[in-house]
Point group: D2
Chain length 337, copies 4
């Protein structure tokens, strides 16, 4: 940590900061410049809140040197993490596509979905059984029954299953049905849930919160990893900005940023990222072009009759077409799909 | 709902939209203008997702007329809601101050805190027993023991108790200790928690998420209210913007906005809103000047030794001073404190 | 325009709104619903500020139906605008690459730059002669001399010239040197400048302001077009969000959004959009994958010695490599480069 | 400046950074920690772009120690700047109110406005002669004639005149009419204009851009000050955030932040900050409660007939009422109005 003192800081103020740091176990190196005095501090763990120093008299600013996350950082595993789910490697050379409806609605709907996405080249089936709707008056999902339907459909077409866990109490039950737990954007900082997922050995697809920085996303991954579950897949799905034409603004640049900071695979979800079918296709292409390890796309056999998020679900033929384009883009960046 | 068609929309496109609306139970009024055709639609419940129409060919845009919340809207209770907690009315003429440390740390710490805030004029005691820390390596709170210490301290100084509930499974246990459940910003859209709080009859202080619009805040209140618990106090605590000098940007204008849209009381939390002690005082004054029904302020007997958020905790003497200023500002807006 | 009245609006309030609209020349259609009264209004030009109605008693909200821009809208020219500059068509099947240094620094530097970008496949040369630096103490550019050097270098390698105009007084002088006037993000709403450019017949590359919505970008294009200059190329270059890891957040989704709303070509500038060389390449790929009509990239013969923005300038070999990847991505979306 | 190397940085990478710094005239102090190597660098001017180092191999991050502004910083003039305009001190004990219409529309309108705001206690008259409208089809102002009318009206009621300068070419002409040049939010980084204002000796009221950080606002002030004009008044008028209920989000906390970082006076403009009359009053109160040195409020004799921004203009009686409330709030913070 570095503490930069104000130009006008008095000797007593400098000393007060040094005393505080020493009391907290830091070794302090003082460097007196022409304009500013700077204190470099090394501690056993460096976990002091920088604001505790910033509010002291005479302090201009304070910078942490260590990243607050360790297990999730690239330096922890420079080669990159590869996670194998039902024989499919995520984080390797292949870009992995996951498709399926927003919600599981019926046996027939999920079976047709599985068949269609598998045929187009997807490796995983997505679908919600518990829907976190922002209105209490909307469709809330089929629950455990929906999970069973999804498991059967996925097995028939050799797909892995991804579904959202809403609450830590659902973990044991859901473990019987899913291959990957999805943590939704709203739960990215549900620390109770993250801690419990850390005890599981089922991989976790962790979506970035709409107001979360990349650093906070990595810190949430760290929460799970610190419990012993290292199989985390990150997912960009749009952040909230002043632009309201699209539901969210997909931060495509987060993909190369995460690749640099962390060893964890990163996917993109252009369906939630844009909220509109006609924007899903270009944004899926953009994500793969930017280096994403996979995409998560909503596809529905009949989007016009979907019980939720129909507007952002692709028609099956659109998904096939998208997969064809993605094959060429993956090749351009040295990958397959 | 209104659907505005593109200038270039064909008759077949207009008809397709009308058909879809009629199939969903809407009555449609068509108005053909010089430039645009506009469809006005009235339905039994108006719960169609506007995006389902916006993605149709020939549609320019779509506007909802009804607010998605009902119980939380001002028109549901034009006179405004007043909630009485341990004899103190929230939402009435008096501006209610709630003070206390970020975390309950020890019996002595919480007792001294209670004494100090009560003496300065606060009516409620705040303090966390379960800390939602963004790093898994930080202090996590005293748990139920902390709640017991806080209850005792509050009773001694005739204060009501506000503490954060992190998870729905904590509700029954916490009901024995707290007078108001606080829902933190990160949990504003934890719908499982909101639903369970709807079954409780303990008032809820609902903090605005850092990326939540005012409409979403009211929709979260609606979630709780739709379960039968009508005693909701809203709380502005800062939103995330591009300005990073302060931890968050307090949206003071949300206070008059909420007052217009809803009958629920609204408080402000300048401690989390700014993250720095030297900004807490001016922002607490600003909130009361803008019409807040109360303030929630972190005060610690010894902020330099606080186990969490010391940098944003006031010294007891600062809190007393603040309360003196707030008395004059409350008078300027026709209220007491 | 539509005016939605509050549930509780009185007859007198409804009448006051109707009177005001009629006085302003609108024809008003009243529709009385179960819950809300809605007024549909058609006027000769529909230029009333919706807020003038929203602040009236009893009004809930007000929606404009007409886009505030006309000449820039897709419906004005459904087939799309193609602009030919020095024999190169922008907005057609070919994705057009423009490269060059941030600032023109010397005769040798700009000539080497022109040679390198032309060899890699760029069609245009970019370079700044007047630098809008946020610090008054930084390098401010070579001025007219720099423009002359750039013109010569471009001519030698058969490239068109793009350079930023900072102020309306520079237009006549610059017209002798440039093929496209670039309007920087900070000047997107410099209406004096936009008006004067409307009188010119030199094409304009208009960058989106870092806090501008897509609608505002189109309105700025409209400003120029309303003066008679229809050759506008839009350019996405990043918006300001809470994420500060990259300088700005490139809004890649703005590319398909603009394509839908407007007939004007849209390019992307990943250099300013990201601010860091290692992010420029993936974001250039993403922009082309999302459908951009061109890219604007900073390339410098020796970025480590650049007088400005060296950190975001590509090495010549990186630019060549990028162009090779873009050829494959352009093919994937049915275009050439 | 401090450069923090990656955990995995090689000795060659460290040496490359040191070489580059030394070549640029820096003295480098190397500190090798358990995890990170940190380089502290002191240079004669410290004007290197930190990104030039951040893109080097093995570099984790880079922090500037010196503020990029000097003349505008609090340490340059710890006692604070007081500017006297027509006998009124701005930045002193008195909170200064400036009122008037958005645009000067007629002789009668501006005279009545002047009389009304003077009577209520305002010291300055505001009004626009050149209107920067985002649509090219809106009312564009009376120009120089409007300035003459405003000058006459102000003189009759002993008020100083504030009006917006849109372009550097207007400075000489406007100097005959105005006491304070207002620089609008859109021009905060119009560096040509700022430079020319630096040569003037008329005080400048510099509004914060809607996407500008506080640091950028101070850097723009520095631009003017570096030309020799030290009489700058800053003005908060709202920033752009995801919340769209109000036109902008007023960043009230910027007021105490600026007070700490700079010696310049800071005012607030709640009319543009909120865009709606009913929010102007609470936000004006909040600004004064937070420590603003003055307020700038739109007041119109007949807002319903205003040619621009009527929705955010107060009725004269509302302004009087506001001034009465502000007197009490000013007293609460130890000031007068």
């Amino acid at each position: 940590m570095f503490v930069v003192m104000e130009e006008s800081a008095t000797e007593a103020q400098v000393q007060a900061v040094i005393d505080r740091l020493v009391n907290r176990g830091f070794t302090v190196h003082r460097s007196t410049g022409v304009v500013h005095t700077v204190l470099g501090c090394v501690g056993p763990k460096e976990e002091m809140d920088p604001r505790d120093l910033e509010v002291m008299e005479g302090v201009k600013e304070c910078h942490r040197v260590m990243s607050p996350y360790k297990l999730a950082s690239r330096s922890f595993k420079p080669a990159g993490t590869r996670i194998t789910v039902k024989g499919v490697e995520i984080g390797g050379d292949m870009v992995v596509a996951i498709g399926g409806p927003c919600s599981v609605e019926s046996k027939e709907q999920i079976e047709v979905s599985a068949e269609q996405v598998a045929k187009a080249g997807a490796k995983g089936l997505r679908g919600g059984a518990f829907k976190p709707r922002s209105s209490p008056y909307s469709f809330q999902g089929l629950g455990e029954e929906g999970l069973g339907l999804m498991r059967d459909a996925a097995d028939r077409y050799n797909l892995f299953v991804v579904s959202e866990v809403m609450d830590h109490t659902q973990i044991p039950m859901m473990s019987d049905y899913v291959d990957i737990f999805q943590v939704g954007a709203r739960n990215m900082q549900n620390f109770t849930l993250l801690k419990e997922l850390g005890k599981s050995r089922v991989p976790v697809l962790l979506k970035r919160g709409i107001a979360a920085t990349v650093e906070e996303l990595l810190l949430s991954a760290e929460y799970v990893m610190s419990g012993g579950n290292y199989d985390i897949i990150l997912c960009e799905r749009g952040i909230r900005t002043f632009e309201s034409y699209t539901r969210n603004t997909m931060d495509i640049s987060a993909i190369p940023v995460v690749k640099k900071l962390s060893h964890l695979p990163i996917m993109a979800d252009p369906s939630h990222g844009t909220g509109r079918r006609d924007k899903v296709i270009p944004m899926a292409r953009a994500a793969v072009a930017a280096g994403a390890d996979g995409i998560l796309v909503e596809v529905h056999p009949d989007p016009d009759r979907a019980l939720s998020d129909g507007a952002q679900s692709l028609y099956p033929a659109q998904f096939e077409d998208l997969m064809r384009q993605l094959r060429m883009i993956a090749a351009a960046v040295g990958r397959t799909i």
